[in-house]
Symmetry: C2
């Protein structure tokens, strides 16, 4: 007994519905204010404030003061990975929310996972990159090939810049809706950024879903084909 690290603390932090909703919302990658988080948690701001203080004390969140707002974000990528992995686990066990809202289909199609693309489109993109020989898949691991590096340059992504960061270039992330891997890491982030920059897609206001424009949709599907 009393072996190893204390998982009960973080379990309890995630175990409250209001806090879990806030964390899930923050997995969307953008910083949210206390009031916004109170909204997603379905509680008053006072209550949200105490929850946020606990999450921060537990090392899951960081806050940044800006004027009279306080913007909260996940402490780091490890938190995002933990939340996503728990979502994957929960989805696999059928622990779904009671009423899957109307947003659910949009979420399944394309959503943001901390800073990269997830959902059907995320999985499709990785599949296509592997099929075209741009990325090597070994076990759970992913590695960019020379061909891939060239292809990416063609669509305006300089891999050299990405390598300079300490963060791994390619990382596979299990998708809770598709139950298959999609591309995370700095390359995953760069790809999503480029889609947003190009105007192919945009983030929605308070949801994690990503809306593709008709033209962006066409371009995306052409760029990342899947064999019939």
């Amino acid at each position: 007994m009393k072996e190893g690290p204390d998982i009960a603390q973080i379990g309890a932090l995630i175990g409250d519905p209001a806090r879990a909703n806030m964390l899930a919302a923050l997995t969307g990658g953008r910083a949210l204010t206390a009031t916004e988080l109170a909204g997603v948690g379905g509680i008053t701001v006072q209550t949200a404030s105490t929850h946020l203080a606990k999450l921060e004390a537990g090392g899951l969140l960081t806050q940044r003061k800006q004027g009279r707002h306080r913007y909260f974000t996940l402490a780091d990528e490890a938190v995002a990975r933990l939340i996503e992995s728990m979502m994957g686990f929960a989805a696999g066990r059928g622990h779904l929310r009671h009423r899957p809202g109307p947003k659910e289909p949009a979420l399944r199609k394309a959503r943001i996972c901390y800073d990269h693309l997830a959902g059907d489109y995320g999985v499709r993109m990785l599949d296509s990159l592997i099929a075209s020989g741009s990325i090597d898949a070994v076990g759970d691991g992913l590695a960019l090939t020379e061909k891939g590096e060239g292809d990416l340059k063609c669509i305006g992504i300089d891999v050299g810049d990405l390598r300079s960061s300490r963060r791994p270039l390619c990382r596979s992330c299990l998708d809770w809706s598709e139950r298959r891997a999609h591309l995370a890491g700095s390359l995953g982030k760069a790809l999503l950024s480029s889609f947003l920059d190009k105007g192919w897609a945009r983030r929605t206001a308070e949801s994690r879903s990503i809306m593709f424009s008709p033209e962006g949709d066409r371009q995306f599907l052409m760029l990342f084909p899947v064999e019939a």
Copy 2:
């Protein structure tokens, strides 16, 4: 709000200290009775019984009746991975137990992680296998090489048998004590089994730690050298 799977449920399940202790104990891989689990949780059998019922209802545990005993195990490997990943996360954040008991050093040296070797020795083994070219590491992924397959046959492990299972052969598992990867998957299991069969090491009674015999220790370190 109300997007995606419900992580609060499993968070809450893990969030109780008594339940967390039971789950951690079961990550040791062997089936434990309700009374034993009450012991590791530091609670009475009545309380343990209700906890175990909740964990089972939540899909984290399965029980098997045998005579008048009920043996509990983790539902599957995914649960073990979740618990281990939470331990890794908690350890990285300094969420350690209040009093690291005397067993802690033994756990850090060598322990069982569901069914494979973890701790210092687990990490050493994987490092050595990679250095010798038996295993290829690409990103987070691991793949057995032809050389590795031959080497393993020499120490009595037939990889062909392992491939027949649906379970992946090599999988990397993040070590909470070392914060580095060790070898999981069916190969990780087979290797640990062979050490136990050979009498190099034995599992301890109620702990996850693995005790190497002096001779086993010598053999292990010789088989898996690390460059100075």
